[in-house]
Each structure stands twice: as C-alpha cells, then as structure tokens.
Amino acid sequence: MNGKFLFELLCEEIPANALPAARQQLVSSLTEKLLEAGVTFSRILGFSTSRRLALWVEGLPSETPARVEEVLGPPASVAFAPDGSLTRAGEGFARAHGVAPEELQVVEGPKGRVVAAKKHIPGLALPDLLAHIVPAAVTGLHFPKTMRWGEGEYVFVRPVHRIVALWGLETLDQVVRFAIFGVASGASTLGHRVTHPGEVLLAGVQDLEDYTKRLRQAGVELDPGRRGELFRQRAEELAAAVGCRVREDRALEDEHVELVEYPGLVRGELDPAWLSLPEEVIVTTLRHHQKCLVLEKEGRVAPYFLAVCDRPDDPQGHVRRGNEWVAGARLADAHFFFHQDLALPLSATAEKLTRVAFHTQLGSFADKAQRLEALVVRLAESLGLRGLVEPLKTAARLAKADLATHMVGEFPELQGVMGGIYARHEGYGPEVWQAIAEQYVPAGQDGPIPQSITGALLGVADRLDTLAALFSVGEIPSGSKDPFALRRHALSVVRICGEFPLHLLLADAVSWASAPFGGGGVSELASFLRERERFFLETKGLPAPVADAVLTARWGLPADDLAVGQALATLWQTPEFMGLATAFKRVRNMVGKEGEGAWAPERLREPAEKALASKVAGLEQELAALAASKAWGQALQLLASLAEPLDRFFTDVLVMCPEAELRQARLGLLARIQRLFLQLADVSKLQVAN
C-alpha cells in the first residue's frame, strides 16, 4: 500500500473564483471513483495555482482487489444434454468465461434455470484504473463558465497545455497513459511563465514535498494555503516597515491567493494629496481596479498600498513604479468624478433617475424612489415615529440619486456610501445621510445591520418595495434561480426587524408595499418572508420544531417571535410540555375537523369542563398582560398550567356528544383554548419531534 499518484493539469489562467470549487471537486470526484473500484488510500490532496490544478494521492495499493462475479449463461436445458453432459453451447459458455466445465453451476435466474459461471476477476493494475478514472474526473468538473478554443473540439475552463500523470511505489517512475482535451499525459510540466519558463521534470519525484520543491525551484508555490501564509507574512513586513498595518480585507486576501503562481506583493506610495478623498473612495478605487490592499495608521488610511504581483521580486522597480502610476491615475480619475458629482446637488442628480432602469416591466429608479417615499412614511407612522417622517421623506427622495453619479457609475459597489457622503457634504442632517448611507446594509447574509433607525427603516422599505415589485411581475425565486438575490433581500428585512429591532408587523408591511402593484403576489411574498424568518430563527439557534411551532402560530415580528422561541426552547423538552403538546394536538385535530363551535359556557355541565372553562376565562387576561410586557417564559408556563385540566377534560368529557348544542359549546371551549395557544406557539408541532 505504498503506491503514489501525481496528477497536474497546466492550462491558461483560470478565473480566481472558480479555483476553490475546482480543487474540492477534483478531490471528491477522484475519491469517489477510487472507492467505487474498492481502492482505499491514506491521503488525497488537491492543489492549484492560477494556471494549474493538481492532485496528490498516496497509500494506494498496486492493484484493485480481485473479485468474483457470477455470470449467467444459457438456460440449463440448452447448456446440458439430457444425459447431463455439456452441449456445445454449454462448452462455449464455459470457455468464453475461462471457467472449467465442472465448475459450471445451475442457478435460478429471472427467466428460469440457467447455467452460471463464477468468474474470478483479477485485480486491475492501479495505473490502468487511474488511466480510466482520472480523465472522467477531470472532464466532469463543473465551472461557472466554460469555453472552446482552437478548432473548437474541446470544452474546459481554459485551454489545456500539459497533463502530468505519474505513478510509482517508491518514486514516481511510470507515466499513467491517457489523453484529455487532445493532450497526452507525460512526465514534465512548465515552470512559472515569466521567471522560470522552462521544462520541469517530475519523473522520479519521491513524495509530495519533493514535487512541491521542484515547482518552488521553478518559481511556483503550489499550495494555496502556503501562498496565503506567505502573503500574510509579506504584507505584515511591508506594512511594519513604514509603521503601518494592513487594513483587513479578507475577501480580497483570499482572492489574491488564487490570482498567482507565486505570492508576491509590492508596496507602493500614494501622493498624500489623494488622502483628501473620502476613505471609502480611496479604498474602493485601489481595490476595484488593482485589487490592492490599503495600509492604515491609527485607523486612518495611510499613503501606502500593497499590490499583488505574480513573482517574488521586483528586479528593476518596474512593478512598484507601474502600480504607483496606475494608483495615481485611478485616484486622479476618482477625484475628477468626485468633484464633478459635488458640483450638482443630489436633488438635481435624482432627476436623472427617470433614465435609470429598475426593471424592464417596473419602470425607472425615479418611480422606485416615489414608492419608497410613500412606503417608508407609512412604516414610520405605524411605529409612531412621526418626528422621523420628514427626514425619511428627504432620504427616500435622495436615496437612489447616487446611481446617477459618476462615482457609482464607476464603482457600483459604492452605491449608498456615495449618496451618504454627498448628502453629508451638502449639509443634510445625520438622520438623512445615515439613512442613505446604510440603506444597503447588510450587503451580504452576515455582516452588521444599520446603526441608525432611519437607515434601518429605509433599508427595510427599499427591500420590501423591491420584493413586492418583482413578485408582482412573477420574478419569484425558485430552486437555485434567484437572479435578483431576493432571498438575501428578504433575509435582510427579517434580520433588521429582528436585530435592530423594529416592531413592524411584516404582514401589514407586505400589503402596503404591494399596494402600488395592485396587490399581486402578496400571499406568495408573505410566505416567502416567513420562510426567511424560519432561516433567521434557526440561525439564532432555535431547534427546527420550536421554530416551526412559533411560525405556525405567528410570524412577522421577528424580535418577539425569536424571544417566544427562545423561551419555548428552554421548556419544550420538559415532561409537562410534552404532555401539553399531546393534549394540544387533540385540541387542534378536533377543532380542525369538527369546527369551532360556539362559546357558551353556561351550557357546559360536567365538572371537568366547567373547571376548564373558568380556568381559560381567567387565563386570557393574564396572558395578555404577560404578552404586553413580553414575559414570554411566564406566558408559556401559564399555558402549561392548562395541561392538567385539559387532560381531565379529555378523560371525563365526550366532546362529540349527541346533543348538538352541548357539542357546539364543547367545541367552542376548545376553539377558545386554541386561540389562546396560537398567540404564542402551536405546541402541537413539538409532539412529533418528541
């Protein structure tokens, strides 16, 4: 079990965002194919650089396990003569499968008795297996975008130039022969395109270290993890040398790792004059065009940046000077745009929005801004925030104006940020400019929510408008199709309401948002938001049955719904609650099936039902008081106190009695209990899970 296998595919530069998944797929696909063939191994590792994908497997057996396979042949009556001797057909079958005539057996096949041969299949030499499964694993890789090249016969992520496939026990001395994309496998690759453009012989490699060393000597650092470490070390050195720190940008640092074959960085200096630009503009300009990291001193942007380069050195200083020139040019360009934007007040810029499309069927961003104004006012009023109505109106009118600025035209990722900066510059108050700046926060699934209440409200209103608008024209996400990222928008609405928190009734907010579109798609949107709320509750640690119990009873006040769920989560596995779940399940089934009856306590006559009715009547007020003070744990305990009388009721009382009026009264009592529970949670949902 000391077999080793090395695979390397050298091609033209692969898009950075495709590489992590490609490495992982390559490993999992080959693992699966090896296991399918009965082959185990001690380790398998996937690597890549910007222009190669590689696999290392070790601890492989030299052949696949031998196995026995039963092959069914002709009917017994054809294979054997009446005297029991083999016919020519029988002999032929035995010969064809390399089995001695006396080893043939008769078995019951799907179509009657047939002869069968137990075939001993010897193991397959591992190189032969690999020659078969590696091409399948490579051609089966999925990439976000593939292409053809040359004569157009092959499809892959980029044109392929070299394939290395080497097998060996001690050293890798045997080429595993196959061809993919018209390239035959071999024993050598190429070094770094610029620093070591020659052949790198890989035959004779002894172990993984030897392989990575040979590449390192050819200017290539194969392991993305190692490249990440080297980048970090180098970045810290370069920053420390000028008394600065690297402004953290994880996503960009991860991207750097995939952009190169060797993790090089150079430090460039900025003309300090550019530091008069807003920090967001400096950072985004350098990041957007050159993927540069920015250095900071005492939390402020310093006049230095780090540019990635695919080489360890800068022998004549061209790399640094080139990047400095580009950074200066880009910042000068940004400076030009920034001042051009400042020359026009935002309210005038907003007038250009009639020409910026929101969606082909849904008009322009000017239309959207109008709807946004009406909606955000309505949300604020429903929360009793009259004092914020005026600033919110202004913020909504100006919110989208930056989409028509030069700056956001250049750097779409600065939407909102620029609007906030320009509004502040023009002297609008913080309630206005913060709302504009924070309307797209959080940008992703995680990340902090807005800090200002006007930002939270504007963000919720904007996303609800987008959701209602797109649902009204049938742009509803399905499966993996969500081109407008509506799931993310909906989750942000729930997160902001739940975490800020905003005491908005989402069910009402959805219908207000949908009103301008004639209310189309309202119920779909409501259940869509409810599903996002489920995700929200589960990410906050609620067990799935608890989230389900809460959302079946109530949804759309994520902060309260979460608090109810958290209270329930501490109680739901107590014996008391488990009994309550069973009893409430009976209540739900009965009311669901037989109807809600009519509340008429005077008609009840058994002691158990009278006791239950009086308990319920007293409980309602108490529960309302506890809910008002958000004492959810106590409220749930109060419901639990119904377990015992409910049990007695179901033991002593026959709900479906022959007298119609009495039956209605008993159903009426149960319906009232159901309503009581459903203010908090449908605890019947907890029963199944228990």
């Binding site: 975008k145 292409m147 004569e151 080489r311 020139w325 910026v356 499309a357 082909t360 322009s364």
Partner: protein, 301 residues
C-alpha cells in the same frame, strides 16, 4: 521598458505592433471607414470570425463611445480612442506566448515586469456576441483585452478566434508615464492633445448638447429598413447590411449620450440592432458557403 530605455512614442507603438503581427502572418488591414464602437465591429473581425475559414488580421480602429467623452477635460477619458485589434483564427496554442513577444516589440521585457491574465469576459448585446478571456495587467495596468470568441451574430463559432485588443492611448500613457492622455507623445515634440484635443471638445459638445434627436431617430429607423432591404432576395448584400447595423449602433450611442433614450426603449433598440446583426451574420455564412469557403485552403496571409 528596459531600465534606461526611452519609452516608445504612440506612433512607434502602432508601427511596431503592426509589424510584429504582420510578421506573425496577420494581414495588416486598415480601420473601417465608419463610426464604430470597437474594433470588433469591423467586418474583418465581426464577419471573418464566422464560419470555418482561417484568418489572421491586425489593424488600428478608431473607436467611438460618445457617452465616454468628457469635453477634453478628463485626462483619462476619450470619446474616440484608438484600438489595435488582432484576430487569430483559429486561436493557436501559443497565443499567450505570442502576445508576450508582442510586448517585447514594445521594449517591454516580461522577465522584469509583472504580467498577469485576470478573468474578464466580453459581451456585446448589439452584436449578439460574447467571449471568454482576460484583461492583461502589466505592473497593475490593464493594457490589453484578450478574448476567445465563443459566439458572434448569435452563431456558435468553430473554429474559435482569439482577439487581442490593445488600448493604444492608455498603453502609451502608461509607457511614457504621462498624467494626461493629452500629454502622450504622438511623436517626439507633438503631443496627442495637439492632434486630438479639439476633436474631443467638439465631439463631446455634439453628442451631449447639439445632436438633433429627431434626426438621429429618423436615421435609426431609415437604416434599419435599409439594412433589412439589403438582405432581401437570392443574393443578399452582406456588407451594406452590416454597415446599416453599424450606423444604427452609432446612432443609438449618440442618442444615449444625448439622454434621449428611456429605460424601456433602450433594451428594445439594442434588440433591433442585434436583429439586423444576427441576420447579416447568417447571410454572410451562407454567402461564403455558396462560394465554397474560398479561404479554407491556405489561409489568409
């Protein structure tokens, strides 16, 4: 450039690149004599990449983007810039290597620079065309767009062409380390601004302020009708039809810069240009087929 070596003038950049690619078997063509948005719209690219015939061509194409014009005030933006376009059909296996050697023709020795190919795909909705490729970064500067065409005029391509597009002003500006395009030396002693600044001012004024919207719209309609009329009958007129599509495209760009196109109209107008471009592409392939694909044996140059 090598240490101590003088950076190339714009004119030398053009001459060196054309000579280099000419020696690599490209036919050195001339710019198309109509307003186009990019070298890709030149029939030597848009039509030649269609069908099975091999082809290699290089040319400079003045390219107009009226909406990018800045009255000659922005040191980095032009309404009309120069592209040097190379088409290699089929794309040869060593195309990246050839490209790096073309940099040497500009005095850039890749061994002492950082050259990276970063993903950047290309799409032209008006031409029904898209491709996959990179922007090439030299020491952090985007100097070339590199594309493997996958589709043009709505047709799948086979063989695949490699397109290499050098942005000449930006490249010269970078090589000469100028802070304004207008300071780039066309030749020693003659700055770019002395040759082109006034055009930029006037073309900007025209595109943003002066252009007659009603007339442009009328002509858009006229050329659309004329284009399709060219494609009627047994023996369609492919080049005139393409020229009509190019005129529509430029008229659209002017109207857009003038702020005369509404959001809904925009998509519809692009679709109208594409429809003619797609019909022209189809007619071209049929025409070449009837002619027996004459360049199939031997290649272009």
């Amino acid at each position: 450039m090598r240490a101590g070596e003088v950076a190339l003038e714009l004119q030398a950049v053009i001459l060196n690149l054309l000579r280099f690619w000419g020696e690599e078997g490209c036919l050195v063509q001339q710019p198309y004599d109509l307003e186009v948005g990019a070298g890709t719209m030149h029939p030597e690219t848009f039509l030649r990449v269609l069908g099975p015939e091999p082809y290699r061509v290089a040319y400079v194409q003045p390219s107009r983007r009226p909406a990018d014009a800045r009255f000659g005030e922005n040191p980095f933006r032009l309404g009309k810039h120069l592209q040097l376009q190379v088409i290699l059909k089929p794309s040869p296996p060593n195309v990246q290597g050839l490209y790096l050697r073309s940099l040497e023709a500009l005095g850039i020795d890749p061994a002492v620079h950082d050259v990276r190919f970063e993903e950047d795909n290309w799409e032209s909705p008006t031409l029904g065309a898209w491709g996959v490729g990179w922007q090439v970064l030299l020491d952090g500067m985007e100097i070339t767009q590199f594309t493997y065409f996958q589709q043009a005029g709505g047709l799948d391509l086979k063989p695949i062409s490699a397109e290499i597009t050098y942005g000449l002003e930006r490249m010269a500006m970078f090589l000469q380390r100028k802070t304004s395009i207008y300071e780039v030396e066309w030749v020693s002693g003659v700055p770019y601004g002395a040759v082109r600044h006034r055009d930029e001012v006037e073309l900007s004024r025209y595109a943003f302020q002066r252009a007659d919207v009603a007339m442009l719209r009328r002509h858009f309609e006229d050329w659309e009708r004329e284009g399709f009329r060219c494609l009627e009958g047994e023996d369609p007129l492919v080049i005139p039809a393409l020229e009509a599509a190019l005129k529509m495209s430029h008229l659209f760009n002017l109207l857009d810069a003038r702020g005369a196109i509404s959001t809904t109209e925009r998509v519809a107008m692009i679709a109208r240009v594409r429809k003619l471009a797609v019909a022209t592409a189809k007619a071209y392939v049929e025409q070449r087929k009837r002619a027996g694909f004459p360049l199939l044996s031997g290649g272009a140059a």
